[in-house]
């Protein structure tokens, strides 16, 4: 496709999903833009721990960007895509803040949806980011990796 590009950003600044979607849809042969925005959830499993109040995201500069670029390349080999955009925030975030954006454009919606979900699933299990949560009692703890994320990633192989 004519407007093929992939761009990965790891940044502390917020992003604007509307601007990103507009950029993904600028080619005449793009008919579909599928996107995902991840947000900091304040509510954990009901009745369990106290609510989360903030999050801190650590990463491995260099390796993180490269591992996301590798994931995007896998998606581009697997589906016919136009443009791909991935933004992941780092540092301290509050409840409701945007964490991650994945946007994929394509001719047809099937490829755009599949590639967008694939990139999110792989990013969750392969890109070196680590979340530390603060709760209402101001206790901090490192978030444990979830089996469901590995199950989600495994269905693509």
């Amino acid at each position: 496709m004519s407007s093929r590009f992939a761009a990965v950003s790891v940044q502390s600044a917020d992003f604007d999903p509307g601007i990103e979607i507009a950029r993904l849809g600028t080619s005449a042969d793009v008919g579909a833009v599928a996107t995902f925005v991840g947000l900091v959830r304040g509510v954990t499993t009901p009745g369990q721990e106290p609510a989360v109040t903030a999050l801190e995201l650590e990463h491995y500069p260099g390796m993180t960007e490269r591992s996301i670029a590798d994931i995007v390349e896998l998606a581009e080999q697997r589906w016919t895509l136009g443009a791909v955009r991935v933004i992941h925030r780092i540092g301290r975030l509050a409840v409701g803040d945007r964490i991650v954006f994945v946007g994929v454009s394509s001719r047809h919606r099937g490829d755009a949806f599949a590639a967008c979900e694939f990139i999110m699933d792989y990013l969750k299990t392969r890109a070196p980011f680590w979340k530390k949560e603060w709760n209402a009692r101001d206790e901090a703890h490192w978030v444990d990796a979830r089996d469901t994320d590995h199950t989600a990633a495994a269905r693509w192989s």
Binding site: G38, L57, E58, H59, Y60, G62, M63, R66, H88, I99, V100, M120, L123, K124, T125, R126, A127, P128, F129, W130, K131, K132, W142, V143, D144, A145, R146, D149
Partner: protein, 81 residues
């Protein structure tokens, strides 16, 4: 010399972000060496089965070969996204 880096929970457990270490043949030997020199807490942190190791920012394993100048990193399972 090699550069050894630690992230997230491991970085906090070991109170170490990065250190320089004499070049050594494999990841297993590096872990044994660090455990021997730094003690039980290091042995436990670096031998935990779920710990991921990367050499020059590519995921590796315990048998992977290290060469002089390499960057070796230890970190827990990732939780981004």
């Amino acid at each position: 010399m090699i550069t050894v880096r630690f992230f997230a929970r491991i970085r906090e457990q070991l109170a170490t972000t990065e250190l320089q270490w004499p070049a050594i043949a494999t990841v297993s030997e590096l872990v044994a060496d660090l455990a021997h020199e730094r003690g039980q807490a290091w042995a436990e942190a670096l031998l935990a089965p779920q710990i991921i190791v990367a050499i020059n920012q590519q995921v590796a394993n315990r048998d992977s070969v290290i060469v002089d100048g390499d960057e070796v990193a230890f970190f827990p399972p990732v939780t981004g996204g």
